[in-house]
């Protein structure tokens, strides 16, 4: 038994030696985002600080599960998601720990971060209405709620309820309207859908161009991608469409964030804190906005041209950390309303 353990130990040590380098400063990230802009910034961080960034990118829910299974043995220092709902959920499971809020609370508006400092948003996206100006009269557009009116019958396009952005949008409607009205909204929207939900956000915009529907619920980010697509016809279509920010007269348009947090058992906590502050610095914030068409969370950062063209808008400033309590109910409502 001793020899067996020893052999195993030697074998494993060899493996570890092969797989990781010496005692250089590191920070380990589990990320549900997978953009080249992120990796560029991580490399820049290493250049500036000498801290090596180790990255695993995978599906957010799988990463939550892995963090949970690993418990106190987890190598991860930072956890990144592309959706507020998932981050709240990780917090509820006790997988995160508070960060040092001194700088962060000066840079990031309170509604985009956790009140207990367990996580903060580092980019934001608006879920808006994209429409064809030839088919939709601007006067028809006002709020998410108004999309359930009968004159929208057969004109609305939106993707499946499996999508995180829709789930978080529904949670925000639950927070604003309460359960009964949220269900009615979902039912009304299903009744007005131009087709059963399918495809991704881009496909919804293309479906407008194809004449299937007239307006779609889409993230601004994907409009940025379409406008910069290598496919000329996609650029052409996107430039014909217009973006409308809903609910400007009341609570504001629904905002979702990409969030970052320090994990509960982070072995390199101070490096993690340093990386968070680096990503929130004005220089990094500009990279996200320019390369990824995401809105900066740092309020003093100037927007690139495309975002400025879309115009400023009023955002729903209900603190995102209050949406967590509605996420479960949001799913039930989708199913009750038959929103697949």
């Amino acid at each position: 038994m001793r020899t067996l353990s020893l052999t195993l130990f030697l074998f494993v040590s060899l493996f570890t030696l092969l797989s990781c380098s010496s005692d250089q400063e590191v920070v380990n990230i589990y990320s549900g985002r997978h953009y080249q802009a992120d990796e560029e910034l991580f490399r820049e961080f290493t250049r500036q600080t000498g801290i090596r960034v180790n990255l695993v990118k995978a599906d957010t829910d799988q990463l939550i599960n892995r963090l949970e299974l690993e418990g106190s043995n987890s190598p991860a220092d930072l956890f990144i998601t592309a959706d507020a709902g998932r981050m709240i959920h990780a917090g509820e499971k006790g997988l995160l720990q508070p960060m040092d809020p001194v700088k962060i609370s000066q840079w990031v508006p309170a509604y985009l971060r956790d009140s207990q400092h367990y996580w903060t948003g580092f980019t934001k996206r608006a879920r808006v209405i994209v429409y064809d100006p030839d088919l939709v009269d601007l006067a028809e557009l006002s709020t998410y709620e108004a999309l359930t009116q009968p004159h929208w019958k057969g004109r609305i396009l939106v993707r499946s309820s499996q999508n995180h952005y829709n789930q978080t949008l529904m949670a925000s409607l639950l927070a604003a309207l309460g359960e009964e009205q949220a269900l009615q909204w979902a039912r009304g929207l299903v009744a007005n859908m131009a087709q059963t939900p399918r495809g991704n956000d881009r496909d919804q915009v293309k479906a407008i161009a194809a004449g299937v529907g007239h307006a779609a619920i889409v993230n601004t980010y994907y409009m940025g991608l379409l406008l910069n697509s290598p496919n000329a016809e996609e650029r052409n279509i996107a430039s014909r469409m217009k973006i409308f920010f809903p609910n400007q007269q009341d609570r504001g348009s629904h905002i979702n964030i990409s969030g970052i947090a320090i994990t509960a058992h982070a072995p390199n906590k101070s490096n993690a804190q340093q990386l968070i502050e680096f990503l929130l610095s004005p220089a990094s914030q500009r990279v996200f906005a320019e390369e990824n068409f995401e809105y900066p969370v740092h309020e003093e950062v100037e927007w690139p041209e495309l975002l400025q063209q879309w115009g400023t808008f009023k955002a729903d400033t209900l603190p995102l950390d209050q949406l967590g309590q509605h996420l479960h109910q949001a799913m039930i409502i989708f199913n009750q309303a038959g929103w697949h």
């Binding site: 990255l55 990118k57 829910d61 990463l63 496909d203 072995p267 799913m331």
Partner: protein, 550 residues
């Protein structure tokens, strides 16, 4: 077939205690089954309100969709795979040599990439549709002719991606079939069509079943394609429980039911097959002499074989090439070399491991059938039917436990972990792709008469010697196709690689997926194209080997 009522450890086994390889096979089967048993054990967990909601308000629709999907894919892969395999093995027609390897090609294109690509070919902004609209005045709504984002669309994509499994395994079978049987049938006045339906098909049953069951398991484990297509299947239920309701226990419980379902199907087929045996009479073996098809029939055969090749490979790869020409300059960087290396090494290690282990397990079961071994061998192949993300949980639990144990041994303070290393990843592939290796090898072994083993034994050869000198040479085709199929499967693999890979480690499939999941399919094209190119290597090897035998 093993007779019922074999004791747990038969006398044969106890007599063979000294032969280490049987034990090694048993332990290997146990280790491979362990993650799946862990998943299965969740069948006893409490489901809670989430469970109720999913079971009663969602599952009925999911089950109906899944049934249609499975039936559709079974029918189409059967038609495409068996007919083309029969044509290229029994007839001479123009392009026969070409088709005998080219028809395998669609296997190198991952199903979800095929789905994105076909959606891109037919959607509103595709160059084809733009041309048709602007120059030919063809306007067919959202997509050109056929709305691919639908249940029939999913059947179409899956079948094109998966028929090569049926083709490969069935063709190997037809190729080794003795012409004596067909000659006898012909001399009894059977027409070619009757020979095919009444003699060849029933005889090829183990091979066809092996191929189709691989295809269906692949359909059952898919999540990426069905999610994009908006088709809600049983897997949707698993991931709704896990991701939307954040209740992994319910997801595992549903997966356990999925395992029961697959096991029931396998057992049903075995039961229905009864005591039939499919080994051929060794002494009367004569290779089939292909009949030459005359002009019109030859052309028809050519067209028939061209259809799956065009739809499953040439058209989508053409589209990927076009996209790559638009984006390659942005996406391809020196790190691509690293990606190719990673993908290739992982695939090579995992496929060889599966080949060796599948052979050991299949032969151990054949030589010393015990109930325990039978059970473990069956369980070990169920990993293919489960979504990769679920298998990953079954892998993580024992590995993290092992890491904890190692940490307790280690007093040096060095943090040791197997989780997140190559070793864990290769083991995970073995668990996931055992079915691919095992089905191919096992259906080949079925064909070898047991009398051969008995003769070898009676001449005093040990089990291991029989395996090395008799089985392996006879099984060569099955082993090679097993290894190569696993190789291609690992190249395409995504969910396990995503969650279990080491830090800073990427593969081609991951690079393609990252762009595709970000709705940037044109940027995903170069990586997808390279997967196809790397996948050509094993297809070429396979062809070379099969060519020699012809």
């Amino acid at each position: 077939m093993i007779k019922p009522g074999v004791p747990l450890l038969s006398i044969h086994v106890s007599r063979q205690l000294q032969s280490g390889w049987v034990w090694a096979a048993l332990i290997a089967a146990l280790l491979i089954s362990l993650p799946l048993i862990i998943v299965f054990s969740n069948i006893f967990t409490e489901g809670g309100p989430t469970w109720q909601h999913i079971m009663y308000s969602l599952l009925p629709t999911y089950l109906i969709n899944t049934t249609w999907l499975l039936l559709g894919v079974a029918a189409l892969t059967f038609i495409m795979g068996v007919s083309t395999a029969w044509l290229v093995s029994m007839y001479k027609f123009p392009g026969r040599r070409f088709f005998s390897w080219a028809l395998v090609l669609p296997i190198s294109l991952p199903a979800y990439i095929g789905g994105f690509t076909w959606a891109g070919i037919l959607d509103y902004t595709s160059p084809v549709y733009v041309f048709a609209r602007n120059h030919l005045g063809i306007h067919t709504g959202q997509s050109l002719f056929f709305d691919v984002l639908s249940l029939p669309g999913a059947v179409f994509i899956f079948s094109l991606a998966l028929y090569p499994y049926v083709f490969l395994i069935t063709r190997a079978y037809f190729n080794r079939q003795s012409s004596a049987l067909f000659e006898v049938a012909a001399s009894l006045g059977k027409k070619p069509g009757q020979i095919f339906f009444q003699v060849a098909l029933p005889l090829a049953r183990p091979a066809i079943v092996a191929g189709i069951s691989l295809a269906l398991m692949e359909v059952l484990n898919d999540y990426g394609l069905v999610r994009y297509f908006g088709v809600e299947t049983f897997t949707t239920g698993i991931f709704t429980a896990w991701f939307a309701f954040s209740h992994p226990q319910s997801a595992l419980k549903l997966s356990a039911y999925l395992m029961i379902f697959v096991l029931a199907l396998i057992l049903l087929e075995r039961f229905q097959r009864g005591q039939m045996r499919y080994d051929t009479l060794g002494s009367s073996y004569r290779p089939v002499k292909p009949t030459t098809l005359k002009s019109f029939h030859g052309l028809a055969a050519w067209i028939w074989c061209m259809i799956p090749l065009m739809l499953g490979f040439l058209i989508p790869v053409g589209m990927l090439l076009y996209w790559s020409s638009l984006t390659a300059h942005q996406v391809i960087d020196p790190r691509f070399v690293q990606l190719i290396g990673n993908s290739f090494l992982l695939a090579a290690m995992a496929s060889v491991a599966v080949g060796i282990l599948a052979l050991m397990i299949a032969f151990a079961l054949r030589s010393f059938p015990s109930t325990l071994m039978k059970f473990l061998a069956r369980t070990a192949t169920l990993g293919y039917a489960l979504p990769g993300a679920v298998v990953a949980i079954g892998i993580l639990i024992p590995f993290l436990w092992l890491d904890g144990y190692l940490a307790s041994l280690n007093t040096g303070g060095l943090r040791i972990a197997l989780t997140g290393t190559w070793l864990a990843l290769v083991f995970a592939y073995v668990v996931r792709f055992m079915a691919v290796g095992y089905n191919s090898i096992d259906s080949g072994m079925e064909r070898i008469p047991r009398s051969v083993d008995e003769a070898s034994r009676s001449l005093g050869a040990s089990g291991l010697k029989t395996l090395a000198n008799i089985q392996i040479p006879l099984l060569k085709g099955g082993i090679i196709s097993a290894v190569l199929l696993v190789f291609i499967d690992v190249l395409k693999e995504l969910p396990l690689t995503l969650i279990l890979r080491p830090f800073n480690f990427d593969t081609l499939a991951i690079r393609a997926f990252e762009f595709a999941s970000d709705e940037r399919i044109a940027e995903a094209a170069p990586a997808a194209l390279i997967i196809v190119l790397v996948g050509l290597v094993p297809v070429a090897v396979l062809n070379r080997f099969m060519g020699k035998k012809d």
